[in-house]
């Protein structure tokens, strides 16, 4: 099918975009990379009256160092993030997860902000944001608020964003020394959405024990899931054997995976256990502890 008719608006600045959003309210939709929205339009699953195309707002796309961490503009293409030297130096887990999004032609167009706003439960970046304790700068006409990643994802394809709001920037705190971070997943075919994905970070103390652990999973519930229980059992332990096994078990207990043609809930639980262990093992190596 073909997209329905819509009014096409092309703001050149963020303020212009916000004014347009304020004017059209719920009848308008933002168009970023279009890699999720245009399929929905092509199938007429959504029929907005107006599309506000933010692709010409050049200053919404950037990766900057900020307070030892990163600030990423919402319009940054997934491919730009994957390729960014700054990302590779500061938070390589972000590039690692980005590479798993769709295929290169999708990542050339798809944006970081669009991916997060779309909030697909199997999507990689939302889980990474949760594990990194990201904060989102959300703006509307004459207003601005900060949202923690853990408060942002509210359900399947739904977020705490309100009509008229635009996700402008993603802020990622830096990592303490001796931290390892990894994202691993299983997809049915290279580039497909993850059946299950795991983002994990471990910080080791001078004796090589876990000082801090952060774990988030995707594909195992309506939103990405932070596995806090699993994080707790790791603290003070050496990152191997029984401790990792216990963490993987708690991580699985935190999930509520769907059953569909791609895999049963049971299969997804097995994957969650396996990949939690694998991600933590990789973390430990990267943190220099093993």
């Amino acid at each position: 099918m073909k997209p329905p008719r819509f009014d096409y608006l092309v703001p050149r600045t963020q303020d212009e975009a916000l004014a347009m959003l304020a004017e059209h309210g719920e009848r308008a939709k933002l168009l970023a990379g279009g890699q999720s929205l245009i399929p929905l339009l092509n199938f007429r699953l959504v029929q907005p009256e107006a599309l506000v195309d933010i692709n010409r707002i050049a200053d919404l796309a950037y990766v900057r160092e900020r307070n030892g961490g990163l600030a990423v503009g919402a319009l940054t293409r997934q491919h730009a993030l994957e390729r960014s030297e700054t990302v590779r130096r500061r938070l390589p887990i972000l590039a690692e997860a980005c590479r798993l999004i769709g295929h290169l032609p999708i990542r050339h167009r798809g944006t970081v902000g669009g991916n997060l706003a779309h909030a697909d439960p199997a999507s990689e970046l939302p889980a990474v944001m949760l594990a990194l304790d990201a904060e989102f700068v959300v703006v509307a006409k004459g207003a601005r608020r900060m949202l923690a990643a853990r408060d942002f994802f509210t359900g399947v394809l739904s977020t705490a964003l309100r009509p008229g709001e635009l996700l402008a920037e993603i802020r990622l705190p830096g990592l303490p020394p001796r931290t390892g971070a990894a994202f691993v997943e299983m997809a049915r075919r290279a580039g497909d959405f993850a059946l299950v994905g795991v983002a994990a970070l471990l910080t080791l103390d001078a004796a090589g024990r876990c000082q801090q652990a952060r774990l988030a999973l995707c594909g195992v519930g309506p939103t990405p899931i932070r596995a806090s229980e699993a994080e707790r059992v790791l603290i003070g332990e050496a990152p191997r054997g029984a401790a990792l096994e216990a963490a993987a078990e708690r991580a699985v207990a935190a999930t509520d995976p769907p059953s569909d043609i791609h895999g049963s809930a049971e299969f997804r639980r097995k994957l969650a256990r396996y990949f939690t262990r694998q991600a933590l093992e990789t973390d430990a190596q990267r943190a220099g502890g093993v």
């Binding site: 073909k2 008719r5 279009g34 890699q35 195309d53 692709n55 032609p105």
Partner: protein
């Protein structure tokens, strides 16, 4: 009458000035308005890859872009690879290695292979497989496509070209 918007597209080096309805997909404008039917259209939801073209040098699904969004862009389609009746060396390699059967996926396979070889003149088999995994082929089982790209790489078909 629906409202149209004036846009400029440079396709295969030729400038076009068009008036398009905002909801028209880039693939439809290429095929219908510019009669460049080498770019195929399959699923219209980004999965099959048959509509892949290069936009400002980067591969993109032309079914997931509005033509208005491509205003001012440079686009390369399969028609821009060869020169008149002369096939591009990559096309020659596809023919020789039997990298195609029905030909439906072929234009897009050529575009992703072209992009890959431009960036990486001697890719490994795995890198070739990853690049073409963006596109579905119902006919060849991919092996002969991989071999075609390898053949083209061995002949330096793309490196330094253009």
């Amino acid at each position: 009458m629906p409202r149209t918007v004036p846009i400029k597209l440079t396709v295969n080096g030729v400038q076009h000035e068009l008036a398009v309805e905002p909801r028209r997909l880039l693939v439809d404008v290429l095929r219908e308005d510019l009669a460049l039917t080498g770019t195929h259209v399959g699923c219209e939801h980004g999965v099959c890859g048959t509509c892949t073209v290069l936009v400002n040098g980067e591969s993109a699904r032309s079914c997931l872009m509005f033509a208005v969004g491509a205003d001012g862009a440079e686009i390369l389609t399969v028609e821009g690879l060869g020169q008149g009746a002369r096939l591009h060396p990559l096309q020659e390699a596809f023919r020789e290695a039997q990298g195609l059967q029905c030909g439906f996926c072929t234009p897009a396979m050529l575009m992703v292979a072209y992009e890959l070889l431009q960036q990486n003149p001697s890719p490994s088999e795995e890198e070739i497989r990853e690049a073409i995994s963006a596109n579905l082929c119902r006919c060849t089982g991919y092996q002969s496509i991989v071999e075609a790209v390898q053949l083209a790489a061995a002949r330096h078909a793309v490196a330094g070209a253009r």
